[in-house]
């Protein structure tokens, strides 16, 4: 038997299947039968836009893409009538699930103290039950790369899927990268901490030296260990072994052109697999980044200029400049709750010169590449995870981004969230 559903009724099921005013949506069970998305506009990312095309999901994977596919027996057919299907979006470099309410310290697990935390792992604090996660998910985001913040060696990021019972369920890939908070390079005094340029220059140099010293110390441990000369394990430097072997990437949080160049130099010294996170000034060094094949997670698609002399659209236009220079880049937004605007950040880049396909890639396939999971995520391709999002229209624009359904690994995700619940609750107050 085949169930025929349109996406609207699917949405209704999602809304009514949960009891009214549920505390939070229930994670979906593993995919049972096949699901055929019929007659969709497929934004494959890897193979352009396919109109009036079908996509078949079997056992959590994309089993087929083509015209006039049919569902195997027992499968479900979802009639999409030209609606837009995208790979589930990937939000990089945020702290979703690590903090619930920013101003309430007890709910904040985003930061650790000390400069040397290569061994801390973000995913263990990831609260799969967070009320924030479903609000991000319902905007089409299926994955989030969460990282622990702090200073210098901040810790390891982990790629999470956003429909899970626990952090174990949620973890798609652990230890994606070691995140380094790059020491400040500007000598511009912040109004909140006014200092003389000389003082700042000195502080910057000291901080950079500290990073170099730390790396040297870590490398010495790794070399000594290789030589069998270590008597007791050092939790911190153990975590550096995959970093020096190139197995684990280094994500350097660097906004300023000088920081970016310093990061490239350090990566050269130790043969690190470098990605720049933030990258406000990446447009200034775009050719260098392209030549060195250093990817960028550009963190400010809506950014306001950092310097008074910069054009008002400096940040808006940066993705287009990176694309023109041939830099591999993804787009990312914000700290946690605001990452739900990720798709619109990509849309903003389109308004300022980026090609639409490239904009989409910057929140899907390129993000997957940078996270090292492009073999299984990031595009609509046969064999990849059946993580797809359906939008009534163009997902990059506010006017048309209406997310009607999402599957993660073929599991139909409940797109309800706390905010929709509250909406319904108070609608009832006024309808009585």
């Amino acid at each position: 038997m085949t169930f025929k559903l349109n996406s609207l009724s699917l949405l209704c099921i999602a809304a009514f299947a949960t009891p009214a005013l549920a505390t939070s949506p229930v994670p979906a069970a593993a995919q049972q039968g096949a699901v055929l998305l019929n007659d969709a506009t497929l934004h494959t990312v890897s193979n352009g836009v396919l109109e009036n095309t079908d996509l078949l999901m079997v056992d959590g994977k994309i089993a087929a893409i083509g015209k006039d596919l049919s569902a195997p027996a027992g499968g479900t057919v979802v009639e999409l009538q030209g609606k837009h299907v995208y790979p589930g979006l990937i939000a990089l470099a945020n702290q979703l699930g690590l903090v619930e309410i920013e101003a309430v310290r007890a709910t904040d697990d985003t930061h650790e103290v000390t400069d040397t935390n290569p061994d801390v792992r973000a995913q263990v604090a990831y609260d799969a039950q967070s009320d924030v996660i479903p609000t991000v998910r319902s905007n089409g985001i299926s994955y989030s790369l969460v990282f622990p913040a702090g200073s210098l060696l901040m810790g390891q990021s982990s790629l999470m899927q956003l429909d899970a019972w626990s952090w174990q369920d949620a973890t798609v890939k652990a230890g994606v990268a070691l995140h380094i908070n790059w020491p400040n390079a500007s000598v511009l005094s912040s109004p909140w901490n006014p200092k003389k340029p000389e003082e700042l220059a000195k502080q910057n140099a000291e901080d950079l030296q500290k990073l170099y010293d730390t790396m040297a110390q870590a490398k010495a441990y790794v070399d000594a260990k290789k030589a069998g000369a270590i008597k007791a394990l050092d939790s911190r430097w153990e975590a550096m072994i995959p970093v020096f072997s190139g197995e684990r990437a280094v994500f350097a949080h660097a906004e300023d052109a000088r920081q970016i160049r310093q990061a490239i130099a350090l990566a050269d010294k130790y043969q690190l697999k470098l990605t720049i996170v933030g990258g406000r000034d990446s447009w200034r060094v775009a050719d260098e980044l392209a030549a060195r094949k250093v990817p960028v997670i550009f963190g400010s698609p809506f950014g306001i200029p950092d310097r008074d002399d910069e054009a008002v659209d400096t940040a808006y236009a940066t993705p287009a400049k990176l694309a023109k220079a041939g830099v591999t880049f993804a787009l990312a937004i914000g700290s946690y709750w605001d990452s739900r605007n990720l798709a619109f950040g990509a849309g903003q880049a389109v308004a300022f010169g980026l090609d639409k396909e490239q904009a989409l890639a910057a929140v899907t396939l390129n993000a997957a590449k940078i996270a090292g999971v492009d073999d299984r995520l990031g595009s609509l391709e046969v064999g990849k995870a059946a993580t797809v999002v359906v939008s009534e229209g163009d997902i990059l624009d506010y006017r048309s981004s209406k997310i009607s359904s999402m599957w993660i690994d073929g599991r139909a995700v409940d797109l309800n969230n706390k905010q929709k619940d509250l909406h319904q609750k108070y609608q009832q107050r006024y309808s009585r």
């Binding site: 309410i101 920013e102 109004p191 006014p194 306001i304 054009a311 946690y336 903003q348 624009d397 506010y398």
Partner: protein, 1034 residues
């Protein structure tokens, strides 16, 4: 000069000569000093006053006073002749803004207000209610001369200095004193000088004021209090009060301001204009404003104030550009100011401003004269410069008949200079009231010139140049050259050495000692072997003057724009008559959305909207085919264009402070807002207190004055706040003592404030009802700006916009407002408005909210992005606001989020950033929609205005184009080019110009947020302590 006999006491303070003055009450120790006090200065070029010079003139001085000046004066018998032939004599200079002989203010704050709040000033004697007020200080009372400081002034020719400790807002009454030697009392020329004021609370640790608007409010209230105190203190009938008026020495001292006058120091040109208008509210005469160095930017506005200025000549250090990487941190504005700072005095002269000069702000007073000469190079006339040092300051301190001229009857304060001081002269001596302080021997020979010199058979040339202490020289043979070492000229005696090898005349060093007589330099040259050679060298030609060969280029490379920074405009944009053709017009009005429509704008007003209209003659045509036109975007909640503090977050009620007092038209975020289509914004006080400051509605006219930003059609408004911020939930452990600390206390705070306001109003009414004779006997009510503002609310003349989040506090305020008798016009933020929409509608309140912000603090945990729709469904007028310069660039997108999240119609969504906020600001009759007769504020969009793909292409206010994306895109190249030119100029500049002389660049203003709290004045005045920022909150 005969040997002196000095008493022990005077020896302590006197160096070489007996004081011309003595304290008759001082009991005599030892033998009296009755030295003759008759002096005749002869042969000098005497600059008797600006523009008047006598050559080869004589000045007679008797007992410290000038008795005669002339060219044919006979020297009376008994006068000691001082031959100053060839020297220039100037009247002693006057510095009106110093700290000479008084306790100096510390630039560091010990501890600082950041350590924790201090809400009350400990009261002592008659001190003021605020710790930044020291008006009761009379600095003459503790004046103590200081030899080192005196010398630093005298070396620059200053003989008179007006001083008070430069600390605080009201700094006390200055003392005018001579820099000469003597007992303190002898040196004081005026014990009741001018009061010094500023906006900087200085060492005060009191929390209030923490913002510039707070400083302004404190000055205003204190000046009003001083006037009141004059009428109130000591009156027996105090029926309107609970007790008699207490003694207050600070207010008593300020009662004399009309007579004494005042000097107000500012740190930028905008504050100069602010100080001026503030003082004008009190009709205070005798005001001098200490300039910041930035006045050239708004010289015409400065002229309009009609004020006298005291102008420092301290120039800033050049931005660091030596390393390529450094250039990322350098702004065009700072480069421009580095180049233009020396033009300030000249620009003020050109604008017709009357000013005195001061050494204030110089890191080293020795840089004063080099800086005067630089100012002259950049346009200051020597006559004006001299006046600014003599007659003008003498006039300003009311001593025009005693100081500032070389004329009979004037004090014998004289400056003796070798050469014209305004060109390259050097001060060799300063005379205070007939007593000399000498820096260089007057009698040094003039040795400059070329001399032929024969050594070991080689014909060499000796060249000496310069004069006085700055002589230098070299020996040459052909191309070869040896610099003179150890060169000294003392009276007639000349000594030097030089390397023979360098000029190919042997090995080792030759040493010369000789003396100059006329054009002959006679002496002995000792050769390396010890042999000596007698020389008579004859001067062949005068040396070329040093500065003529390397005359510095005074061409200015920087542009001057308004504001004077990147993206500033050279000329204010002009209103145009426009015909917009074939656009999609979103009227935000009954007409709805009109396709293929034309709009005619005449004299700043939409005059016609229709299809295929005819272009009136002379109108600019804009082909808007494919484009969209909307009304200008309006932002109910913004903190851009505010200077030095968005919160006066000290007291719980601060309704006396006014954002309108601190508008900053130079904020780049005005331009950025325009680039996002925003034309109008309400600038709100922050949310640190239940009753915050007065708000100001502005139009984003880039390139105007502070006054020009104000939207005159908008009625007055004020910010209230509820919840976490006002109860200081996230302020840290130091902030747990201010009432209120909970929402229950917020209610009582507001209720009691309004009760006080009602009683205040009643007290004035009762006083007004008294007969005039009764009024004379009765202590009048005190003008209280804090309560007056609340009375305006009760009188429906000022409208309340309240920061609020949760349902309980929303309902509380509605109830309280109903009970008190005022209306809440707009609940802003109002993220739980969807829970209370019914009650808001009943009260008549509107709502201005964030599109999708939440989770950043506890009170926003229930925020939902469909808040707009739920409130609108209940009939509440809803807008979305930015509360940030970032979102202000894309409020169209914020509106679009309601289309996404709750299916609001696109026209209604657009209204949330056009006509709805116009209604909330009560300017909807004027702006907010495109309708015939309304002010032509509009935006041309590249696409559908709610699309993420839309860009604002042009933004117009009142028929004037303030932003054009096509122009904007060309500006960058010019900015970069100008920066590179200026960077090259810095790189080539001499070290002294790079190092500057103590002048400062403007402090960068942060992007203000609602909850930014702490000490903005510490930021503004460059102190580290105190600043706090609460990130990511609203």
């Amino acid at each position: 000069m005969k040997p002196l006999r000095l008493s022990l006491l005077s020896a302590a303070v006197v160096c070489a000569v007996a004081p011309a003055w003595a304290d008759p009450t001082q009991p005599l120790q030892g033998i009296r000093d009755n030295s003759a006090q008759l002096l005749a200065f002869t042969g000098a070029v005497v600059h008797t006053e600006p523009g008047k010079t006598l050559s080869n003139a004589t000045v007679l001085v008797q007992s410290g006073k000038i008795t005669a000046v002339g060219t044919n004066l006979k020297i009376p018998a008994g006068f000691r002749q001082i031959d100053v032939a060839g020297y220039h004599l100037y009247p002693g200079f006057i510095d009106l803004y110093g700290q000479y002989g008084v306790e100096k203010a510390s630039s560091e704050r010990s501890g600082g207000r950041g350590d924790g709040p201090m809400y009350q000033n400990p009261r002592r004697g008659g001190n003021a209610v605020n710790a930044a007020i020291h008006a009761e200080q009379r600095w003459a009372d503790s004046f103590m001369p200081n030899a080192d400081d005196a010398k630093a002034y005298q070396q620059q020719g200053f003989t008179t200095v007006q001083s008070a400790r430069q600390d605080g807002i009201f700094r006390g009454q200055a003392v005018v004193a001579s820099t000469g030697k003597g007992l303190p009392g002898e040196l004081i020329l005026n014990a009741d000088g001018q009061h010094f004021l500023s906006f900087d609370p200085g060492s005060s640790k009191q929390s209030y004021p923490s913002s510039l608007m707070g400083s302004i409010a404190l000055v205003r209230q204190t000046l009003a209090d001083a006037q009141w105190y004059q009428q109130a203190y000591g009156k027996a009938d105090w029926r309107l009060f609970r007790e008699p008026v207490p003694f207050n020495a600070a207010l008593a001292a300020l009662g004399q301001l009309n007579q004494t006058g005042l000097v107000f120091e500012v740190n930028n040109e905008r504050n100069l204009l602010r100080a001026d208008s503030l003082l004008k509210e009190f009709n205070l005469p005798k005001v001098a404003l200490v300039a910041s160095g930035y006045e050239y930017v708004r010289a015409a506005d400065v002229k309009k104030t009609g004020r006298n200025l005291i102008v420092p000549l301290a120039y800033p250090a050049a931005p660091s550009v030596g390393k390529l990487d450094d250039q990322l941190d350098v702004s065009l504005a700072d480069l421009r100011h580095w180049e233009r700072a020396p033009t300030n005095a000249g620009a003020l002269e050109k604008a017709g401003v009357n000013f005195a000069l001061t050494t204030h702000k110089l890191d080293d007073k020795a840089k004063f004269w080099p800086n005067v000469r630089t100012a002259i190079k950049y346009g200051l006339s020597t006559e004006k410069a001299l006046a600014a040092l003599t007659t003008v300051p003498a006039e300003l301190i009311g001593m025009p008949g005693q100081l500032g001229r070389i004329a009979s009857g004037y004090q014998a304060d004289l400056v003796v200079s070798k050469g014209d001081l305004f060109k390259d002269g050097e001060i060799v001596a300063t005379w205070n009231r007939g007593v000399e302080t000498q820096f260089k021997p007057l009698q040094n020979a003039d040795v400059a010139g070329d001399y032929a010199l024969n050594v070991a058979g080689k014909a060499l040339k000796l060249n000496l140049s310069g004069a006085l202490g700055k002589v230098e020289g070299k020996v040459q043979q052909g191309e070869k050259e040896a610099k003179l070492e150890n060169l000294s000229v003392d009276k007639q005696q000349v000594q030097f050495g030089f390397s023979l090898k360098d000029v190919d005349a042997g090995d080792g060093v030759a040493l010369f000692s000789g003396s100059m007589a006329g054009n002959l330099l006679q002496g002995t040259l000792q050769l390396p072997d010890g042999s000596q050679q007698a020389l008579t060298l004859s001067r062949q030609a005068a040396a070329v003057k040093a500065d003529e060969k390397k005359a510095e280029d005074s061409t200015l490379l920087s542009q001057l724009s308004m504001p004077n920074q990147a993206y500033g405009v050279a000329n204010a944009p002009q209103r145009q008559n426009v015909h917009i053709k074939n656009a999609t017009v979103w009227t935000s009005d009954k007409a709805g959305k009109l396709e293929n429509t034309d709009v005619i704008v005449r004299d700043g007003v939409f005059t016609e909207i229709g299809k295929n209209l005819k272009t009136p003659s002379g109108f600019v045509e804009i082909d808007a085919t494919g484009m969209h036109v909307t009304a200008g975007i309006i932002d109910e909640h913004s903190h851009i264009a505010i200077e030095s503090g968005v919160n006066e977050g000290s007291d719980a009620v601060t309704s006396e402070v006014h954002i309108g007092d601190v508008l900053n038209p130079d904020d780049i975020n005005i331009y950025r807002g325009l680039a996002g289509g925003t034309t109008t914004a309400q600038l709100l006080h922050g949310s640190a207190n239940p009753i915050g400051g007065k708000a100001q509605v502005i139009q984003l006219r880039w390139g105007v004055s502070p006054e020009g930003l104000k939207f005159k059609a908008a009625p007055a408004s004020i910010k209230f706040a509820l919840g976490e911020n006002v109860k200081q939930s996230n302020w840290g452990d130091n902030y747990t003592s201010r009432y209120p600390q909970s929402r229950v206390g917020v209610e009582t705070t507001i209720r009691d404030a309004f009760q006080a306001a009602k009683e205040y109003k009643a007290a004035w009414a009762a006083y007004d009802d008294l007969s005039s004779s009764e009024q004379k006997r009765t202590v009048p009510p005190r003008v209280d700006y804090r309560l007056q503002t609340l009375v305006e609310i009760l009188d429906n003349k000022r409208f309340v916009h309240t920061h609020s989040y949760v349902a309980s506090e929303i309902l509380m305020l509605i109830k309280l407002a109903d009970e008190t008798g005022f209306k809440v016009t707009t609940f802003t933020h109002i993220l739980e408005g969807y829970k209370t929409a019914k009650e808001m509608k009943e009260h008549g309140a509107s709502a201005s909210t964030f599109a999708d912000w939440w989770a950043y603090k506890m009170e926003v945990k229930d925020a939902i992005p469909t808040n707009t729709c739920l409130m609108a469904d209940q009939g509440v007028v809803v807008s979305v606001n930015s509360d940030s310069p970032d979102l202000q660039r894309r409020l169209n997108q914020e509106a679009a989020k309601s289309v996404k999240y709750c299916g609001m119609s696109e026209e209604d969504a657009l209204k949330m950033v056009t006509i709805n906020p116009a209604i909330q600001l009560k300017v909807d009759q004027k702006v907010g929609s495109i309708a015939e007769g309304k002010q032509a504020d509009f935006v041309l969009w590249s696409e559908h205005p709610l699309s993420v793909y839309a860009k604002a292409m042009q933004t117009w206010i009142d028929g004037t184009k303030y932003y054009d994306r096509n122009v904007d895109m060309t500006l960058n190249a010019g900015i970069e080019r100008e920066k590179q030119q200026l960077i090259q100029k810095v790189l080539k500049a001499p070290d002294s110009a790079k190092a500057g002389s103590g002048g400062e660049m403007k402090k960068p203003e942060p992007i203000w947020h609602c909850e930014d709290n702490g000490d903005y004045l510490d930021l503004a005045f460059g102190r580290v302590a105190g600043a706090q920022q609460h990130a990511h909150q609203h």
